[in-house]
Symmetry: C2
Subunit: 399 residues, 2 copies
């Protein structure tokens, strides 16, 4: 299941990048392509945001260390196996993957960022991955379709490929992402890769990516879990359009917008999702307070299962908000579902009729707005429901 | 579903207390008794631990305020409606409930502690509750069976009534509890009531109850949610056995043990539970570190769904541990399921065979032990799985 987006046109492809894909057969029997290469014509400014999970894959440590130098030319990424907790060879396998990519595209190994996603704790089939990297290098292509193919190759339980782009004055940003379970405000089983032909320098790119991730991937929740292999990486081509201050400002906004679009696609494809719900927390004393309440609502299994049942169980939404420990006051709360006011001053609104709430909650998409009545800060995020199907997918993941 | 305990004999009934029950019909059409009265012969030392949720029911505020005086004589509790977010009358309804109980048993209203559990946000049927309180008062009884009837009357989605007792030298503690969903280390939709005929003074009782709750109800997880109406209350009869220092020490241990027994019963009856899993985190630098890791594992939806699928997906257990941000080191981790070593130095143990893990995870009850390799502190808790049935119960809760 998934709550499909209205439409997805092919993305813009920024100049100076080529993308290739191949089928390594990492999961035995899998028929899809499962390996992608993103290659810039020259070393690029690079930025990254990585999982904070203390149990991290070697590829994350490698990519993080390499990005700290501020430059990268290629990303090599596979689905089907996370190469995490896979044994003594884990780091060597990630290095071999990057080395093979460097050789295949003609760059230095330290300019290649490896990424892996999929099952944890299984031996990594490096013997199938290396030849596939050569194959992917031979398919390198500058077209929007190549980015779409890469978005497809990095899928695991995703039911559709996720991409997007934003255009500026003569430059663009393309982004691809994967993720449908283990999704959480603190990063999750997701990968996102961005490329732009605006010549943004590395420190600026890092700041913009951090802010974009904070306002997008950190504000979604499928199940509240975090993963060992997450990252968001951005590459900016140094020979692209000149990064004037005005353009950099526009770029940062565009990157955040694109990250939000991708984050929303991830929620729409949440494992077993039948609802796509926007949660807006308004009237907060600070953005941090709004985010804390947002997170408590968006990760509550009781809110999520009520959504699965199309039940306008607004008491659970308020209970979840109260559990955040964010200093809210019950008697100041107002709650709406789309245009229907449900709660006023912390109790059922006199005008509220159960059938109005039920009508909204029966929809596949709607917005919940909780006003805290304390100030003027706000935060918006996106959540899906917790359905039977989520349980089935995750109970049977390895079978 | 539930993972039933081996056996439950009738509890000991401490001297000086009477218990009554009645059917108020709070949920229209419900056939079970849904109201209970616990009454001491004289005002008792009283202690309580209450939900930290910022959206709290009026009855919680009332009971908390009254317990701060250190004395109480009666508890009146209903299931079927939490009388929370139920409108302008909420506080008045809880007061009427306590007033009716005070009149029926012949004590002062401020010595009565009200408690309610059930659906949030619905008008409270006070007109049906008050006559039932009179009825319950007429059934007051000193027998173990009366305690069992009260345990039954406070059930909501619980599939079995939960009680227990521990005996000392001439004194005993009885405890009853309810809870099967919204269960979380930070307190959840649960109520627990304890009574003893050891004459423990109120401050000692409060300290013992706090410690008991910390080691029991705060260490279980069904779904990670917290509720608006939770409380654990203890009454100690002042004319009971003399509370010598030795007895008080023994009492504190016995109360913690009893609270753990009740907490385990709650997990066994977790909504939709098919597994009862003990999680032991050992080798920690501090008990706080062990508790943080325990909590991350026990609340992880991905660990819970893997359990539902009987899948020994140990990578998810380590990933959950890493997400706690508690300062663990991957390469020091050792993981066992019962006697089977799965992970050694942060990677699959050479001796581990998948079929051994699968055999353990196929059982309805087993123990997961994660050694952090950092120190000598530890914490043990209990969790259940997240099954289809959990989703069904919570998606359809109000239908």
């Amino acid at each position: 299941m998934a709550v499909l987006p209205p439409s997805m046109s092919p993305p813009s492809a920024p100049r100076g990048f080529r993308v290739g894909t191949a089928r390594a057969g990492i999961k035995p029997g899998a028929k899809r392509k499962d390996l992608a290469l993103i290659v810039a014509d020259v070393p690029c400014a690079a930025a990254g945001v990585f999982t904070t999970n203390e149990v991290r894959a070697a590829c994350i440590e490698m990519a993080k260390a390499r990005i700290q130098q501020g430059t990268a030319q290629a990303i090599v990424v596979n689905s089907g196996n996370a190469n995490c907790l896979s044994g003594a060879q884990e780091r060597a396998w990630s290095e071999q993957m990057a080395d093979a990519a460097a050789a295949a595209v003609g760059t230095l190994p330290q300019l290649v960022l490896p990424a892996s996603t999929g099952v944890i704790g299984e031996p990594f089939p490096i013997d199938r991955v290396v030849p596939a990297i050569d194959l992917a290098a031979r398919s390198l292509d500058r077209s929007p379709q190549a980015w779409m193919a890469a978005a497809d190759a990095i899928r695991t339980t995703d039911t559709f490929a996720k991409w997007g782009s934003v255009e500026g004055d003569g430059w663009s940003i393309v982004g691809i992402a994967k993720g449908s379970g283990m999704i959480h405000p603190r990063m999750a089983t997701m990968l996102a890769f961005f490329a732009t032909d605006l010549a943004v320098p590395a420190p600026t790119l890092q700041a913009a990516l951090h802010e974009a991730v904070r306002r997008s991937f950190h504000r979604i929740s499928v199940d509240g879990d975090t993963s060992t292999n997450d990252c968001a990486i951005a590459l900016a081509h140094p020979q692209g359009v000149e990064a004037t201050p005005e353009r950099v400002e526009r770029f940062a906004e565009a990157l955040a917008l694109l990250a939000q679009q991708l984050a929303q696609l991830i929620v729409r494809d949440g494992e077993g999702a039948t609802k796509f719900v926007t949660v807006a927390v308004t009237g907060a004393r600070s953005e941090e307070q709004a985010e804390a309440v947002l997170r408590a609502i968006a990760t509550s299994p009781l809110v999520k299962t009520a959504l699965a049942g199309s039940d306008a169980n607004w008491g659970r939404i308020l209970a979840a908000a109260g559990s955040a420990g964010a200093g809210i006051q019950r008697e100041r709360l107002t709650l709406w579902a789309d245009g229907v006011k449900i709660v006023e001053r912390g109790a059922r609104a006199p005008s509220y009729r159960e059938e109005d709430g039920m009508r909204i909650f029966a929809q596949a998409e709607f917005t919940i707005t909780l006003d805290l009545g304390l100030g003027s800060a706000s935060a918006t995020g996106w959540m899906c429901d917790l359905s039977y199907e989520y349980v089935r997918i995750n109970a049977e993941y390895r079978t």
